[in-house]
C-alpha cells in the first residue's frame, strides 16, 4: 500500500481540503495528516474583512468605462508621487527599557501579563517561559482606534524563563483600547506584520491590570 507523497500530504493538510481515500485505511498517514493539520492550523491565515462590500464592487464595475479608467490613471500617478513626498511616515518615538530581570522557573506554558494604569508613563510586562525563536522579536503594541504604538521589543534568541520589563507609554492619557503582541522579523517596525500571539483589551478601570494567560 503506497503512502501519501509529500505533495499529497501537504495538500490534504490545508483547511477544508477533502481527505484522500487512502487516509481512511492507513493509520500512519492518518496520524501524520492529523498532526500536520493541527500544527499548521495554529498559524493558519485568519479571515480578514474586505474594505468594500459586494454592492460597492458591483457599483464600481458598472460605472467603470475604459475612458474613465485612463483618466483616473493620469490623475493617480502625480497624486501618488505628491503624497509620497508630503506624507513619508516618521519613525515612532523609541520607548526605553527601564528594567529587565531573569530568573529560572520550572517547566510551564508561555505566559504574559501586563500591568499599567491609565495616565501612568510606565507599565510593566511579566513574561514567563518564552521559547527560543532566533530571528523573531516579540513586539508589544498599544492599540487605539486601529493604530498601533510599539512599546516593547523582546528578541527571542534564547529561552527566557522569566522576564520582567518596564516599558514607557507614549501619551499615557490617550484612550488606548487594547494591548497586543506580534512576532516580528525585526525590532522597531512601524506597524505589526507578523502573527499575533497576545491580545488583551485594556479595561476602563484606571487601576485594574489586564493579565492574559499565554
Amino acid at each position: 500500500m503506497a503512502h501519501l507523497t509529500p505533495e499529497q500530504l501537504l495538500h490534504a493538510a490545508g483547511p477544508g481540503r477533502p481527505v484522500p481515500d487512502h487516509v481512511r485505511q492507513c493509520l500512519s498517514c492518518q496520524t501524520q495528516l492529523d498532526d500536520l493539520a493541527t500544527l499548521l492550523s495554529a498559524v493558519a491565515p485568519a479571515p480578514e474583512p474586505p474594505s468594500l462590500t459586494a454592492g460597492q464592487l458591483l457599483s464600481r464595475w458598472a460605472e467603470r468605462s475604459p475612458r474613465r479608467a485612463a483618466k483616473s490613471w493620469l490623475v493617480a500617478i502625480p497624486l501618488t508621487l505628491a503624497l509620497l513626498g508630503i506624507f513619508m511616515p516618521q519613525p515612532p518615538p523609541v520607548p526605553r527599557q527601564a528594567l529587565a530581570a531573569t530568573v529560572s522557573l520550572p517547566f510551564a506554558q508561555p505566559h504574559a501579563s501586563v500591568r499599567w494604569q491609565r495616565g501612568l508613563s510606565y507599565g510593566r510586562l511579566t513574561l514567563t517561559n518564552l521559547p527560543a525563536m532566533p530571528g523573531r522579536v516579540l513586539t508589544f503594541w498599544f492599540i487605539r482606534n486601529g493604530s498601533h504604538v510599539p512599546v516593547a521589543w523582546i528578541p527571542l534568541n534564547h529561552v527566557q524563563r522569566r522576564l520582567v520589563l518596564w516599558f514607557q507609554v507614549p501619551a499615557p492619557d490617550s484612550s488606548y483600547q487594547a494591548i497586543g503582541a506580534t512576532l516580528e522579523p525585526a525590532p522597531y517596525r512601524l506597524a505589526p506584520s507578523g502573527p499575533r500571539v497576545f491580545f488583551a483589551p485594556l479595561t476602563s478601570s484606571a487601576s485594574k491590570p489586564s493579565p492574559a494567560r499565554g
Binding site: 496520524t31 495554529a42 480578514e48
Partner: protein, 189 residues
C-alpha cells in the same frame, strides 16, 4: 437570503447575474480569501485588488464553474491562485509568506487560549529554512501544486520537491518526537 443556502445554489444564481446571491457568496468567502491572499502579499491594497479580481472573474465568468468537477470553495480558491499567480508575474515578484497577517484590535480575549499553541507551532516551524517553510505554506494555505510553486518562486521543480520533502521530514521528525514523549501514536513508515 438564507444563511444555509448552499454554495452551489448561490453560484447557480450568480451565473444568472443575481446580485443578492453574489453578495451572499462574497460575505461567505471574501474574508477567508483575503486572509489567505494577505498571507502571500505584504501590501493590503494589493491584496484587496487581487480579491476584487477574484470576484470580478466570478461575476463575469461564473459560467466556467462546473459543479460536477468540484466544490464552489475549491473553485474560488482556484481562481484566487490564478489571480495571485498573475499578480506575481505582472509585478515580477515572488510571494512573501514570512509576513503574515497584521494585528487587529477589538477582537477580545478569544485568542488567549491559543497563545501557547501558536508559540509552540512557530517554534516547530522555525526549524524549517525560509524556502522549506515557503513551499509548505504555499501548498497548505494557498493550495498550490509543486509545479505552480516552482513557477511562482522561479525555482527548478526538483528544488521545490526537495524543499518540500526536507521540510516535511523535519516536521514529521519533530512531531514524532513529541508523540514519543507523550507515549502514544502509531509507528511511521
Amino acid at each position: 437570503m438564507s444563511e444555509s443556502e448552499s454554495d452551489a445554489e448561490l453560484m447557480r444564481r450568480v451565473k444568472d447575474r443575481d446580485a443578492e446571491a453574489f453578495n451572499a457568496l462574497y460575505n461567505r468567502y471574501a474574508p477567508r480569501l483575503l486572509g489567505t491572499i494577505r498571507r502571500f502579499l505584504r501590501d493590503p491594497h494589493e491584496s484587496e485588488d487581487v480579491l476584487q479580481n477574484v470576484f470580478f472573474y466570478i461575476w463575469h465568468h461564473g459560467t466556467v464553474f462546473r459543479p460536477e468537477r468540484g466544490s464552489v470553495q475549491g473553485f474560488l480558491f482556484q481562481v484566487m491562485r490564478s489571480r495571485l499567480t498573475d499578480h506575481f508575474r505582472r509585478n515580477a515578484r515572488v510571494p512573501d509568506v514570512m509576513d503574515p497577517l497584521p494585528d487587529a484590535p477589538g477582537e477580545g480575549l478569544a485568542e488567549d487560549d491559543s497563545v501557547a499553541g501558536r508559540l509552540a507551532a512557530e517554534a516547530i516551524l522555525n526549524l524549517l529554512s525560509p524556502r522549506e517553510r515557503q513551499v509548505i505554506e504555499l501548498a497548505v494555505f494557498g493550495g498550490f501544486s509543486q509545479p505552480e510553486i516552482a513557477k511562482l518562486l522561479r525555482a527548478p521543480l526538483g528544488s521545490v520537491k526537495s524543499w518540500s520533502r526536507r521540510g516535511l521530514d523535519k516536521l514529521r521528525h519533530k512531531l514524532s518526537e513529541q508523540e514519543g514523549d507523550s507515549g502514544h501514536g502509531p509507528p511511521h513508515p
